[in-house]
């Protein structure tokens, strides 16, 4: 493997998965602020006898919350937050993009771009408004839903051919699933 191909593999792997930078930054900033607050509290505790006594007596209870509700409520919130963070850490976080290398470049195409292109081309081919073609691009399939004009038939296989043409034009493959609505609309 050449250096260029190794770079492309690395870049494409990174660009097709969520970086998790923003949640990690939020956690790091909140953690750093809490640590600084703890340190400040610790220094205050060392130098201020009144503060030490107040801490030793215990913090005053919040109105309306019994001694059981507070730890259970805090615990439930923390467990919920923990599940979210663990999910962010462990799940792959695939972005809705397709990637491949060409002879010269690493090619990355957002699924939304492919969907737009397919919708436009299918609408032209079927002779319907662009608004009446809905396209969903999944990892292995492309679902196309066409609402025809009443009385004007739409060729499903032609629409499938359009999907295949668009995808092969950028070097990707997926299974087209074209659905033509039974009830058309008046143009």
């Amino acid at each position: 493997m050449t250096n260029e191909q190794a770079t492309y593999r690395r870049v494409l792997r990174r660009e097709t998965h969520a970086p998790r930078t923003i949640p990690a930054l939020v956690v790091a900033i909140v953690g750093a602020v809490l640590c600084l607050a703890l340190l400040a509290g610790g220094v205050w505790w060392l130098v201020d006898a009144a503060f030490r006594e107040e801490i030793a007596r215990g913090l005053p209870g919040l109105p309306g919350l019994g001694p059981r509700a507070l730890p259970i409520g805090i615990g439930a919130v923390l467990v919920l937050l923990a599940v979210v963070l663990l999910a962010l850490a462990v799940l792959p976080g695939r972005r809705r993009r397709r990637a491949r290398t060409t002879a010269r470049t690493a090619l990355l195409v957002d699924d939304g771009v492919i969907a737009d292109s397919i919708a436009g081309a299918v609408a032209r081919r079927a002779g319907v408004d662009r608004d009446r073609v809905a396209v969903t691009v999944a990892r292995r399939t492309v679902a196309v839903r066409i609402t025809p004009t009443s009385g004007i038939p739409v060729d499903r296989s032609a629409a499938e051919a359009v999907v295949n043409d668009i995808l092969s034009g950028v070097g990707f493959t997926a299974l087209p699933r074209v659905v033509v609505e039974e009830r058309g609309v008046v143009a």
């Binding site: 250096n3 260029e4 770079t7 492309y8 690395r10 870049v11 494409l12 660009e15 970086p19 998790r20 930078t21 990690a24 930054l25 956690v27 790091a28 900033i29 953690g31 750093a32 640590c35 600084l36 703890l38 340190l39 610790g42 001694p67 059981r68 509700a69 730890p71 259970i72 805090i74 615990g75 439930a76 919130v77 923390l78 467990v79 937050l81 923990a82 599940v83 963070l85 663990l86 962010l88 850490a89 462990v90 060409t102 010269r104 470049t105 090619l107 990355l108 195409v109 957002d110 771009v113 737009d116 292109s117 919708a119 436009g120 609408a123 032209r124 662009r130 668009i166 034009g169 950028v170």
Partner: protein, 205 residues
């Protein structure tokens, strides 16, 4: 595209999640125990935890010149200081990897550098003149030890993607010829951003 380590992002999220899970479960257990009549296994675990805390709280450390110091607050303060430093380093090292140059060539007469503005002008100008392209932009990044260029193109809805890719590769071939060297290029056909919606009306032909 940046050189930020994504593994460390996930490691931080995992560690924070594991710590919160432990603390949350401990808080839930404390709430259940204080509510009275907890299950036996929870009562035993709570008793063991209280005993362990009592033992640990009694630990002291003899420091010459200061006297006897409780160990737990000392360890906690050290951990908090270290954690603060690590988190600060983490925050200030995110988002690195952007480069102002795309190529540096050393020779006996000196060093030649190619600025990223050059690649911006040469790669994007021919593309944004096309009617099927809304906008194009470039960025230069360090990827490992190499430098790479991202050429991001926002295409008009319904444009022929194959034609846009072919046009971009043609421009890149001219760039290679001009540069006399080959640098890795990420060609990205990207979704429209909110400001492209404004731009599209200006570029209507």
């Amino acid at each position: 595209m940046s050189a930020t380590s994504r593994v460390w992002n996930r490691v931080l999220l995992f560690v924070a999640g594991a710590v919160l899970l432990l603390v949350g479960c401990a808080a839930l257990a404390a709430g259940v125990v204080s509510a009275g009549n907890p299950p036996d296994w929870l009562r035993r675990a709570a008793t063991r935890a209280v005993d362990a805390w009592g033992t640990a709280a009694a630990w002291t450390w003899e420091i010459e010149g200061i006297g006897t110091v409780p160990t737990i607050p000392l360890i906690a303060a050290t951990v908090v200081v270290l954690l603060t430093v690590v988190l600060m380093i983490f925050v200030f090292t995110r988002g690195r990897g952007r480069s102002t140059t795309v190529l540096e060539v050393d020779s006996v007469d000196g060093r030649t550098t190619v600025d990223r503005n050059v690649v911006e002008a040469l790669l994007t100008e021919p593309l944004i003149r096309r009617p099927d392209v809304l906008s194009a932009r470039t960025g230069a990044y360090r990827v490992g030890k190499a430098r790479a260029v991202e050429l991001a193109i926002t295409v008009r809805p319904g444009a022929s993607l194959g034609a846009v890719v072919a046009a971009a590769e043609g421009v890149i071939a001219e760039w290679d010829q001009l540069l006399g060297a080959r640098i890795p290029i990420l060609l990205h056909l990207s979704d429209r951003r909110w400001r492209d919606a404004l731009r599209s009306t200006m570029r209507a032909r």
